[in-house]
Subunit: 336 residues, 2 copies
Amino acid sequence: MVTIRDVAKAAGVSLTTVSRAYNPKAVIRQSTRERILKLAHEMGYVPNLSARSLVTNQKFVLGVFFSNLRSGTPETFLSTVINSVYEVLPDDYLLSVNDIAHLSNFEARVQMRMAGVLVVSQSPDDDAFIQRLAQAQIPTVVINRDLEDPLSYNVCSDDRLGVYKAMQYLAQAGHQRVGMIAGLPSYTSAHQRRQGFDDGVADFGLTRVDAAMRPGNYSAQAGRKQMQAILDLPSDQRPTAVICADDDTAVGALRACYQAGVSVPAGMSVVGFDDSIYAAMSVPALTTVKKPIVQMATAGIAKLLALIAGEVDTVVHKEVIAPSLIVRESVLDRHK
Amino acid sequence: MVTIRDVAKAAGVSLTTVSRAYNPKAVIRQSTRERILKLAHEMGYVPNLSARSLVTNQKFVLGVFFSNLRSGTPETFLSTVINSVYEVLPDDYLLSVNDIAHLSNFEARVQMRMAGVLVVSQSPDDDAFIQRLAQAQIPTVVINRDLEDPLSYNVCSDDRLGVYKAMQYLAQAGHQRVGMIAGLPSYTSAHQRRQGFDDGVADFGLTRVDAAMRPGNYSAQAGRKQMQAILDLPSDQRPTAVICADDDTAVGALRACYQAGVSVPAGMSVVGFDDSIYAAMSVPALTTVKKPIVQMATAGIAKLLALIAGEVDTVVHKEVIAPSLIVRESVLDRHK
DNA sequence: ATGAAAGCGCTAACAG
DNA sequence: CTGTTAGCGCTTTCAT
């Protein structure tokens, strides 16, 4: 293993000079730096980060935490977020992927070793963890969930607006009677999506079909069961379109329609939320609100890197990104 | 920050003794060890791994590499593999997720810092990377792909057998005329799956419909296009069932049927491969061969940990796991 | 069974 | 602009 000493000897300078060559803001003659860097590279020298960490206390791992990797994390999140992180990750940093629900040894894994943490949060269950990060003074950015009382930087999407846009689209497509299969009441996003629904009904003069306002839990099972209940309604009492709290719910709803022999969108229109990978794959392909996960991840990681670099920004604590509507096949245009 | 010195002082022993308390195989009186460990814990002492690494050269990061996180990695792989790793990961290890196709700085990220690497390989493109790991003497296990000439431990699934099982099922369900939409010819798995098809045709007396033997590339687009071509055949020249090289292809095939007004499975049976997350979600739900990803990951990580621990095993270099058939709705039972 | 001392590879004052 | 020196927190001989 070639160390800084070997390089120093070969270059005919002291350890310190070599060390400085690797430190961008050290004062050193440009020509010496170049000469050393070139030589070091030829010799196959790679700085030992353990040694550096030991003296500087710097860390070279960036942590990404998901609420629960075993269930509930939309699969697209994982790869999308990881990719976004790598876009901008300094090339001596490692990216560690973790699961809040099953984390053990916070001290050794997180506190001692992570330069910063990006939390992709799905639920308030993560609050204890987020608080712990704050206490440990670890630079943290929370994305995906709207933090009520932000202890950390927070980048989230405007879910209310997303559903509102879907409602507008429904109205324009000539729908009048609408229903909704909701999300888990304990989730902030569920309320925001419901709010978008209510605002849409009010602003676009739609009719809320109370018997078609159903509870749900972000699962396909619930989506199926609740859509069955809606389809059990006499056809003149049914809504012509149903907004689902997420794509899983919507896919379940699609299945219920299929099994009941109701064609989508001819007999029932369905709208999802998230734009998960199977939204485009489903039959029919799902019209859905695309959660701006790429934008949240990109903005979040940029902020995190700035925090780590010490560029503190005490003003902006929350950033809200607008989602967009992806029109596919599951909503009928009643004007045609 | 509390260091080993502080603990030593508080316990009235030397640094060395505290260090020994943390080293399972050091000679130290049991009662002293317990006393020290308890005290250290109370004081909030956490061993500094940078310092330990510096002297022992041990590493405390386990790397998981995927062929390409931006495309081609079935989404389920990611979370499944990560979960399997955490099942057994020692709690002072970090898990780092990486992308072979976009890896930079091998030396600093991998060579200097990873105790071992689990490669979830999709294609021969990864061979250069695998070779590099071998050269760098990094404990490595490659899963998911059948390595022709294993430089590393290799855990893969018997894809031939998987398709063969599907063929058997088709035969039992009364199908006679069969076709296939294949995978990328450059992939070993494509050949193995094709072999399973051919073996199935031979052993179960099925009829291979040559006009329905189509190329593919593991994408829904290809699946759709190729199924369209199959559906363009006069109905008496069509196969009654088509095996797809993977679930993406199968989902595309499902769409083609839907658009052509051919109902699945009544008018056409479709079988996938992988058991990806949308296999259960599709309409109709896909009958498919489940790739034993959990088993591969579990076996692979166990082997990797053994390698890291220095328990070398020069005999077994490859482990092959049998996949299973998941019966859902996309195959017609022609006996009914 | 325990302690003293040396040193892992590097950075950070402090001099020059 | 460059070199000398003193550690960072820990493990490891070598004594005792």
